[in-house]
């Protein structure tokens, strides 16, 4: 298999942890709440899913448990940020640290253990194609993740719920005047973000690299946060960004396997360096951020 077809075949799977987490955060941010705790929520979801799958609970149960655990953690954040109106940045960092701590604590006895991954489901015909065939042979979570992406895109763009979420983020006072429960909708959006971060962690730990190692999320939650900015809060661009980062992380592996004479630390830094560069390039366009940005992002809302 050539390096290119290896990257094409694997980039969707590599993109999944970024994509799921970033989509969840996108919804939360669209409602006006900035949750910096994604890394910790992913870490918690990862360990919970790993433990369930390891004890033969199956992947479905693992994902459900991970989603619920991370959603619960995100509700702690929501209560701090929305309930008692604490500083959102500090509250996000706090539950991020808490999540990473809990992940290390629960995962201690599972260090270096493995679980079975998931089989690939192929699209007949298409998966036989040269070069790009691998793209059509993915595990069930990737297919479901792509469906979920479509559903989130359609919901935000066309449904009344999506309109209300965006209105709450754009102008909470007007939304409240129209009779919407701003705080309630934000709670829901944050919990959805937690659920998705849990799925993202579960995918990373039980499907993508089904082996437990403390700190295995390795900054992917932070990159997911950056992706939302890259995408200027648009669903389609989140997908593009996530796949790009999936491809970058696979290019690392392909380069190492191909014996490219670049040192491994530099390769490992590549996603972080790319993040900094892209973040600079996109943010420099202030007009773009202003037009697409969420007006009330991070601002507390109270009577």
């Amino acid at each position: 298999m050539s390096a290119l077809s290896f990257i094409i075949a694997g980039m969707l799977a590599a993109a999944m942890p970024f994509l799921l987490a970033a989509l969840g955060e996108l919804v939360a941010e669209r409602s006006g709440v900035l949750n910096l705790g994604i890394e910790g929520m992913m870490a918690l979801g990862a360990v919970v899913a790993f433990i369930v799958v390891r004890h033969s609970g199956g992947h479905a149960m693992g994902f459900v448990a991970a989603g619920l655990a991370s959603a619960a953690l995100s509700l702690v954040f929501a209560w701090l940020a929305l309930g008692v109106r604490a500083n959102q940045v500090a509250a996000g960092l706090a539950i991020g640290i808490l999540g990473q701590g809990l992940s290390a604590l629960f995962g201690k006895r599972y260090e270096s253990l493995t679980v079975p991954g998931l089989p690939k489901l192929s699209v007949p015909g298409l998966s036989e194609l040269p070069l790009v065939g691998g793209l059509f042979s993915q595990d069930a979570v990737v297919w479901l993740g792509l469906l979920a992406t479509l559903a989130i895109w359609a919901t935000l763009r066309f449904s009344k719920l999506g309109l209300v979420i965006r209105a709450v983020g754009e102008n909470p006072h007007a939304a409240r005047a129209l009779g919407y429960n701003v705080i309630g909708i934000r709670y829901g959006a944050v919990a959805f973000g937690g659920l998705m971060a849990g799925f993202a962690g579960a995918y990373a730990a039980t499907v993508y690299t089904p082996l437990w190692a403390e700190g295995m999320i390795a900054g992917r939650g932070w990159i997911a946060l950056a992706l939302v900015v890259f995408a200027t809060w648009m669903t389609g661009r989140v997908v593009f960004g996530a796949v790009l980062f999936g491809a970058v992380s696979l290019a690392q592996l392909a380069a190492q396997a191909g014996g490219v004479a670049l040192n491994s630390q530099l390769l490992a830094s590549l996603p972080y360096i790319v993040t900094i560069l892209v973040l600079g390039a996109i943010s420099a366009n202030k007009r773009l951020l202003k037009v697409n940005g969420v007006a009330s992002l991070g601002e507390p809302f109270g009577r």
Binding site: L266, L279, A284
Partner: protein, 357 residues
Amino acid sequence: MGIRMIRRTTASRRMAVLAPMGALLLAIVLNFLLYIVMGNDPGAVFYALLLEPFVSWSSFSEVLLKMTPLLLIAQGLAVGFRAKVINIGAEGQFILGAIFASAIPVWFPQATGGWIWPLMLLLGGMGGALWAALPAFWRVRLNASEILVTLMMSLIAAQLLAYLLVGPWKDPMGFNFPQTVMFQWDAMVPTLIPGTRVNVALILALLWSALAYVYMQKSFQGYQLVVGGLAPHATAYAGFSEGRAVWLSLLIGGFAAGLAGAAEVAGPMGQLQRSISSGYGYAAIIVAYLGGLHPVGILFSSLFMAALYIGGDNAMVSAGLPVAAVRVFQGSLLCCYLAAIVLVRYRLVRDGHEVPA
């Protein structure tokens, strides 16, 4: 019947002192419930984690040693946090400080003289400031979030450290361990209290705190930074640019973290190695918030967090408490604190009750 939050006309000073204590109590209760569920003996953990760090001089001196980097970093970060410049990359700035400081003993292992350790500390501070300068540039010139860029810079710093330790800076006689040579005597910060590992860096951290107090509470520039954090438009109108606040905040925070990193390699470590930071850069964020972003509050919160580190080590040895439990404690403590300080600015009133003016 619900409970409503009513904003106080002035922040309650009584609550400003009581709330952190209440938060601490709540965090202790929650975490000990967790220890009981995990099957640890709560009595043994309580003694090892919360009392033992203070009962003997030898363990308390270790607390002071751990307090030094936390205090240095947190005072630096708090300056930025008050100006709403959120530098969460102190971990990377700490690592760069350690690397810069190590350059002298690694390249000149034979050098002698009393000038070596002060120069190392200075280089360390500059290394940290340099690592924070890029996020500052990215924020001021490119409008990029310093939160994300500083964090990414930390992840890169960890890789840079790993590269140096397996590559050019590896001790050739070190049995292939990822660490540098042990530093020469003159590259070590002098010990302050004989018989302990507490060194002169503690004095520097206390001086730095005094400086932070004068700067933030008494100087005009500190005042501008604080007001800029609260009302950016007002300060912009008064001629104080946001860009200057970003540069000042990040350079001060980076310098402090770098200094702490230098003091760590030139102090308790005595060489550059993988585990130079036990997450000080992240813990210092908690220290800064727990101290109410106030120089005096940070003195107390850094002392407590340092004790928690030492107590965590004790509890691991004597009560089998996993190391990660300390991080859980730190995270939950910050959550409890954030919930508790709401009482400083708000009063809780039951629905239906009259609100006295």
